[in-house]
Assembly symmetry: C2
Homo-oligomer: 73 residues x 2
């Protein structure tokens, strides 16, 4: 059974992949979500147990479905 840590790291990787596919920087993505790039860095590193609300903001700016960020989890 997958641990929470591993799941958060995978989600972070999914975010990073989608972000780079869109040619955005962490700065850009964070700004679109209305928070700082420092927090986005932590999220992508899997060091933040983010809420569904935050997940929605991110998927919204990335233009993908929230469920896509949970791919492989």
């Amino acid at each position: 059974m997958i641990t929470r840590q591993d799941a958060l790291v995978k989600i972070g990787r999914n975010i990073k992949a989608a972000r780079e596919a869109g040619g955005m920087s962490q700065q850009d993505l964070a700004a679109g979500c209305n928070f700082e790039k420092s927090n986005m860095s932590r999220i992508e590193a899997g060091r933040s147990n983010l809420t569904v609300g935050t997940l929605l903001k991110i998927s919204d700016v990335l233009g993908i479905r929230p469920a896509d960020l949970l791919a492989g989890v």
Copy 2:
């Protein structure tokens, strides 16, 4: 664009549907997640902006993928 509220309500409905499909009570599901039925009631009602960690606990006990709980969101 879907609001956070609507998304949380949908997730709550997804949890409820999967729970009832498995013949569990809120009590059962909550106990499997190591918290109280009162909290599960709030989650299913969409009145809690739950974290990914909590989402994982629930999907684990339900025996489904976390992404399934975000269906339609």
